[in-house]
């Protein structure tokens, strides 16, 4: 395990060096890219909890990413046009305060994860994959056809939300917020995974009958993991709206679900830093290939297939051989 820990520290150093490089070279784009990696890594970390550690393949995490994104966008847009979100039975005003928006985004996407998980966890295997996809599509089409918040065109937010003591419009400050949140999320996940709950979650992945036979309800364990996972991915969605100052139904599309899944698998499932490595590699490929050819997605697809066919266990699986969970 020591080897993997060293690798993780190197990842952190590399990640941190990018925005500093951006500052030194006066290339704000580097900082934006690093921020994007961090946010997508948070989304992937959320998915990794259920897909990697829990072993149930959610193809619908775009729903939580997008719900988090819309919570942020809706609250901010109301704050900016001074029009309350609801007036009855009591007035709820919009806000641009991140310290309110982010927990609320987690709460609401977690709540949706609870509802969706309760229904989906009745099924398993390929049915679970498909029904989570269906729920995400439901949310997607709702966002497209609901005109109040921009419908298909999406919702622009002119300013980033506020964080006490920081100027969030400054790229480096915003990166710092996201980075701290990523470290915080990874720390929480590492505690969860090594706790009694984590033991039960990973056991239920392998042998749910056995888990039930020792008096633990597997579905309850999985549902709680699903809710935590949805909340974390929702947090990432809210940050993503802030990064782009824009949210549209495309964050809810099934491509987003697929991409979040790609981050996790590319980096290595059930690896704490897998989603970060995967997201970073994905963005690097996108930038690098996109610089060479217009058809970069072709080569991305090509590389992904090679990874699936020949590099089982993802990047971290190739580098750090030891592995606890099969």
């Amino acid at each position: 395990m020591i080897k993997e820990n060293y690798f993780n520290i190197i990842c952190i150093i590399l990640l941190l060096s990018v925005p500093f490089l951006g500052l030194i070279l006066d290339e704000p784009y580097y900082i934006t890219l690093a921020t994007k990696v961090v946010i997508l890594a948070i989304a992937g970390a959320g998915l990794n909890l259920v897909l990697g550690y829990g072993g149930f393949v959610s193809f619908g995490h775009a729903a939580f990413f997008g719900i988090g994104g819309y919570v942020s966008g809706i609250l901010a847009s109301h704050a900016l046009n001074y029009y309350p979100i609801i007036e009855w039975p009591f007035i709820i005003e919009g806000t641009t305060q991140m310290l309110i928006i982010l927990p609320l985004a987690m709460l609401i996407s977690g709540g949706f994860a609870f509802l969706i998980g309760m229904l989906c966890l009745r099924t398993s295997g390929v049915y679970f994959i498909m029904i989570t996809l269906a729920f995400a599509q439901m949310v997607y089409y709702f966002a497209i056809s609901w005109p109040a918040y921009g419908g298909e065109d999406g919702l622009s937010v002119y300013l980033r939300n506020n964080f006490p003591g920081l100027n969030t419009m400054d790229g480096f400050s915003f990166f710092s917020i996201c980075f701290v949140l990523l470290i915080f999320v990874l720390f929480i996940i590492s505690r969860i995974v090594n706790s009694n709950f984590g033991l039960a979650l990973q056991s239920a992945k392998q042998n749910p009958e056995r888990v039930a036979a020792v008096g633990i309800e597997p579905i309850k364990v999985q549902l709680i993991a699903f809710v935590i996972s949805g909340a974390i991915t929702g947090l990432a969605g809210a940050l993503y709206t802030d990064l782009n100052r824009f949210v549209s139904p495309s964050v809810l599309s099934w491509h987003t679900s697929g991409e979040i899944m790609v981050f996790v698998i590319l980096g290595g499932t059930a690896r704490l830093f897998g989603p970060l490595v995967g997201a970073a590699l994905f963005i690097i490929l996108e930038q690098f290939l996109g610089g060479i050819t217009e058809n970069w997605q072709f080569w991305l697809g090509f590389i992904l297939i090679i990874v699936v066919l020949f590099a089982k266990g993802g990047i971290i699986g190739m580098i750090a051989k030891e592995r606890r969970n099969g």
């Binding site: 099924t123 498909m130 269906a134 089409y141 991305l300 297939i305």
Partner: protein, 307 residues
């Protein structure tokens, strides 16, 4: 709302359902026999549409276009099965999802490379343009009627293929017991390639037929792919009968939902919010249908083994 308008919508729903069946049949066979989730099935649909549009505009014959769509999709299916897909049969669903997701990127970009970013168009042939007069004063597009007829013929053909021919026996045996069929001396990898090609050809045909109603463009396969998944999950993965029932159900629910829901909400809401809610809800209808079916029957209407 007149009765003939309603019946016309029913026919539209049926046409949509039949087209979904062509897509779903291959998907469900491939899952039933080989245990593979193939996200790239929509790409084969797209390839069929592009092949049809290209050949039809080159030769001037819509019918040659249709033949080309079958051939192109089948050939693409065979190639991709031999090169990549067959390595995935024994992998878990996660690997299959990821690899076939990557295939979508690959195919979409390849199409963009070859045909450019602009949509192509496929014209309905002279003989099928115009409408058909049906009883009750219904005027219905000849071309859409043809899709319904072709779809029904293929459904009948597929059922007799599976229930009456030797190939069908092997397919059914492959679904229940892979080792047994290998022991019987059937070349299993050839059988798999054949099943995959068959599914691909049907998807390609569906793409070509729809291509004359909509435009032919990169990415056209993806919405249909997801609908096809909804269909086979509702019907029960692996069941051709389930795919047919699911496809018709989804086709009718979607079409009639879009037609009826806005007018339904107009009964007790003001027109503009009725349209908003009606259209929002109707675009979610089939997913609500799928969720309801799975909550009621977790392995679909005709499914028995949830893998």
């Amino acid at each position: 709302m007149s009765i003939s308008l309603f019946l016309e919508q029913v026919l539209n729903g049926l046409q949509f359902g039949v087209m979904l069946f062509l897509m779903s049949a291959g998907l469900t066979l491939v899952f039933g026999v080989m245990g593979l989730i193939n996200l790239a099935h929509g790409s084969l649909y797209m390839i069929g549409a592009f092949a049809a549009a290209a050949i039809a505009s080159w030769t001037g014959s819509f019918w040659l276009g249709l033949v080309a769509s079958l051939m192109a999709a089948a050939i693409a299916g065979v190639i991709v099965e031999i090169v990549i897909i067959r390595r995935l049969y024994k992998r878990d669903h996660l690997d299959q999802v990821l690899a076939t997701f990557a295939l979508i990127l690959l195919f979409s970009e390849a199409m963009r490379w070859i045909f450019g970013a602009f949509p192509l168009f496929l014209d309905v042939p002279e003989i099928l343009s115009g409408t058909l007069s049906l009883p009750l004063g219904i005027e219905y597009s000849k071309y859409r009627m043809m899709i319904i007829v072709v779809g029904i013929l293929i459904a009948v053909g597929l059922f007799s293929l599976i229930s009456k021919t030797r190939l069908g026996v092997r397919i059914r045996a492959g679904e229940s017991d892979r080792e047994m069929i290998a022991a019987l001396g059937v070349d299993i990898s050839k059988l798999y390639t054949l099943v995959f090609a068959l599914g691909a050809a049907l998807a390609g045909l569906a793409g070509a037929m729809v291509g004359a109603i909509q435009s032919v463009e990169v990415g056209m396969g993806e919405p249909v792919l997801i609908l096809a998944f909804v269909v086979i999950v509702i019907g029960g993965i692996g069941s051709i009968k389930g795919a047919l029932v699911g496809a018709i159900l989804v086709g009718l629910t979607d079409t009639l939902g879009r037609f009826l829901l806005p007018s339904f909400f107009k009964i007790f809401l003001n027109p503009s919010s009725a349209t908003d809610i009606g259209s929002a809800l109707s675009s979610m209808m089939i997913y609500i249908l799928m969720a309801a079916v799975l909550i009621w029957k977790p392995s679909g209407l005709f499914g028995n083994n949830a893998k």
